[in-house]
């Protein structure tokens, strides 16, 4: 089943064209990796899909479950099952992590016609799900991401993914800033959430994450387009040869 269809997507930020015609198709049950150098447009693609207000879509279309994604504001995209794990998770001082998680969870539940959980019920749920990322429950009582280390922020992102149960999760450089133990934990968390009903897109510079979360497809972006698609061996080849040989082809 086609989950995401990106056709000729063009987008710009502050008048500068970044995406110059991206084509991508993702089916339920698949894991995709998008690789590329800094500035190739891979993070922009994630933010455009999530609806970040700083980016303007200038061409092409995106269908999510057959629905025009750009007709939906960011919160509706989350409600229909799109999730972006941020490269730099935002600190929200004064908003308790547990209250935020519960509000987000209940909002999504309601939009799916399911019952909300009261604080006690939610506490049980979140303490169960938090095990997925081996996160200290003390982080639930703190302000959202405030003063969290890089690794703790990324775990908090995957905890949100575990709670919101998205159809498509885009992990934007979730591996950056993680030491090898944290990387393993986060990757295990993501793997435990994989199913034939959902799909995962990993945006990353490096091959090492792909040792833990093995992709079905690897795409290489350059200058705002996907210039090559292959299987997991493409990532190994990139690790060995760098990106230059692809740029020459493009």
């Amino acid at each position: 089943m086609k989950l995401l269809e990106v056709k000729g997507l063009k987008a710009s930020v502050e008048g500068i064209s970044i995406l110059r015609g991206v084509d991508l198709e993702i089916n339920a049950g698949e894991v995709h990796a998008i690789m590329g150098l800094n500035g190739s447009g891979k993070s922009t693609l994630s933010k455009v899909l999530a609806g970040h207000p700083s980016y303007q879509v200038t061409g092409g279309e995106v269908l999510f479950n057959g629905q025009d994604l750009f007709e939906l504001p960011p919160e509706e995209r989350a409600r229909v099952g799109l999730f972006l794990a941020f490269q730099y998770p935002v600190e929200v001082p004064g908003v308790s992590n547990s209250a935020f998680l519960r509000l987000a969870y209940n909002t999504i539940q309601t939009s799916r016609g399911k019952d909300e959980l009261d604080p006690l019920e939610f506490d049980d749920l979140v303490r169960e799900r938090i095990k997925v990322v081996e996160m200290d429950p003390a982080f639930l009582d703190r302000s959202v991401n405030e003063g969290f280390s890089g690794g703790e922020k990324k775990r908090n992102e995957i905890l949100q993914m575990a709670l919101l149960d998205p159809k498509l999760a885009i992990l934007d450089e979730t591996d950056s800033g993680l030491d090898i133990d944290a990387l393993r934990i986060v990757a295990n968390g993501v793997n435990s959430l994989r199913s034939e009903h959902n799909a995962i897109v990993m945006v990353t510079h490096y091959q090492r994450l792909l040792n833990y979360i093995v992709p079905d497809f690897v795409h290489v972006m350059d200058a705002g387009r996907i210039v090559k698609t292959g299987d997991k061996t493409l990532a190994l080849e990139l690790e060995e040869r760098g990106y230059d040989w692809l740029r020459a082809v493009a």
Binding site: A50, G51, H52, P53, S54, P73, P74, E75, R77, A78, R79, F83, L84, F86, P89, V90, V92, P93, G94, V95, F100, L103, A104, T107, I108, S111, S143, Q160, L164
Partner: protein, 413 residues
């Protein structure tokens, strides 16, 4: 109305014949000499006084109405309620007092008179209050037990706008402790309230003072507080200005005793066409005192919020330590916030720090919350609450915090 007429109107009330008639007479003389404030006056230029000229207010009389105070009750507190400026015995609960004595005007301990009306002689509305006050909450604390004294001012609906007066004197003997909650509320029709609260802290005394102004939408509120600290005393104040069409709070704190300690927190939440102004003045008159001030303004709609925070360190106040922070959140392009931290330092053995910030809601924070399914309005509310929480959450009375959150929510629709 012209300014002269405004002043004449406010002084036309029949002078009360009571133990304070001499004091009332002196206050009238001072009020006439001070004149009605003008827009060009330094102390008022940011506020805009036009609204005070629009309306004539009749002195409120004793009412037979019994307003509902449901939703205001604080469990376990000693409650004194004033309706339109008059003590209301049926709504009050002065029982169970021992180390704390609370009385209305006429039943007070006469020894307290020595502390009455000891300052703000340069503030015209404080003088008008001294001339016209109809009642007073006399609070005398001798014990160290922690108990809440709740002073509630309610204005009732009237056909013609009325002005009523609130007055309180809180005296803490040496090492006494108490929590004072002052609240102001009323209907959404036009009226005016003028209040004056004096607190005198003996050596080592500790006053936690929570002031909640949530007047009705058309109200004019002119509030004053004067707090004097003896050696080693501690004053911890949270003042919230949420309601009223026009509100002003003048708070003055005097460090008279060595090593006294003050914390002043304040929050203004202004929306639509509200004008809300807080002027504070902390005077360091003795050595080794500390003051920590944190003020926040949130302005939405086409409201105006003003914070003027003055800290004066006198010549002999060596070893003074003061911190002041003013953080402000502007929610609309038509709203205005004026934040003015001011330091006057007259000796060089001091540590004074102050800072002010002005910002909008953070777009990245909003997007982050929305990317998790929250509507923009939900996300905005959450962030505004978070901004206010730093002030509101220091209040440890849970029933009050809950009702304040609802008040804040109600203002952010």
């Amino acid at each position: 109305m012209k300014s002269d007429d405004c002043l004449a109107g406010l002084l036309a009330d029949a002078a009360q014949r009571d133990a304070f008639s001499v004091l009332r007479g002196q206050a009238e003389v001072r009020a006439r000499a001070l004149k009605f404030p003008q827009d060009k006056d330094d102390d008022w230029r940011l506020t805009g006084l036009a609204v005070l000229h629009e309306q004539e207010y009749l002195p409120a009389g004793k009412t037979t109405q019994i307003p509902s105070i449901e939703g205001f009750a604080i469990p376990g507190s000693c409650r004194i309620v004033f309706v339109d400026g008059f003590y209301h015995p049926a709504l009050s609960d002065l029982s169970g007092q021992d180390e704390i004595r609370v009385s209305p005007l006429g039943r007070e301990e006469k020894s307290l008179h020595a502390h009455f009306d000891k300052g703000m002689k340069d503030a015209v509305f404080a003088q008008i209050n001294a001339r016209n006050f109809t009642d007073c909450a006399w609070v005398h604390v001798q014990g160290e037990i922690q108990r809440i004294v709740h002073v509630l001012h309610v204005t009732t609906p009237h056909q013609k706008p009325v002005v009523s007066y609130g007055r309180a004197l809180v005296v803490l003997e040496a090492n006494a402790r108490v929590t004072l909650v002052e609240e102001y509320t009323g209907p959404d029709s036009p009226y005016s309230v003028n209040s004056m609260t004096e607190a005198v802290l003996g050596e080592g005394a500790d006053l936690r003072h929570i002031r909640v102004q949530r007047e009705g939408a058309q109200a004019v509120h002119l509030g004053h507080a004067l707090v004097t600290l003896s050696r080693g005393a501690h004053y911890d104040s949270t003042a919230l200005a949420l309601g009223g069409r026009f509100s002003r709070y003048d708070q003055r704190v005097l460090h008279q005793g060595e090593g006294s300690d003050v914390r002043l927190d304040g929050l203004i939440l202004a929306d639509e066409s509200q004008v809300a102004d807080t002027h504070t003045r902390i005077e360091h008159l003795a050595p080794g005192c500390r003051s920590l001030q944190q003020h926040k303004c949130i302005a939405n709609g086409n409201s105006i919020a003003v914070f003027s925070g003055n800290i004066v360190v006198h010549r002999n106040a060596k070893g003074t330590d003061t911190r002041q922070s003013s953080r402000n959140l502007l929610l609309s392009s038509k709203a205005r916030i004026d934040a003015q931290p001011q330091l006057e330092i007259m000796n060089d053995d001091v540590s004074c720090k102050h800072g002010a910030t002005m910002g909008k809601l953070d777009a990245e924070e909003l997007f982050y919350l929305m990317s998790r399914g929250l509507r923009e309005s939900q996300a905005r509310k959450l962030l505004i609450h978070a901004f206010a929480a730093e002030i509101v959450d220091r209040i440890s009375i849970q029933t009050l915090v809950r009702s304040l959150r609802e008040s804040i929510d109600g203002r952010l629709v």
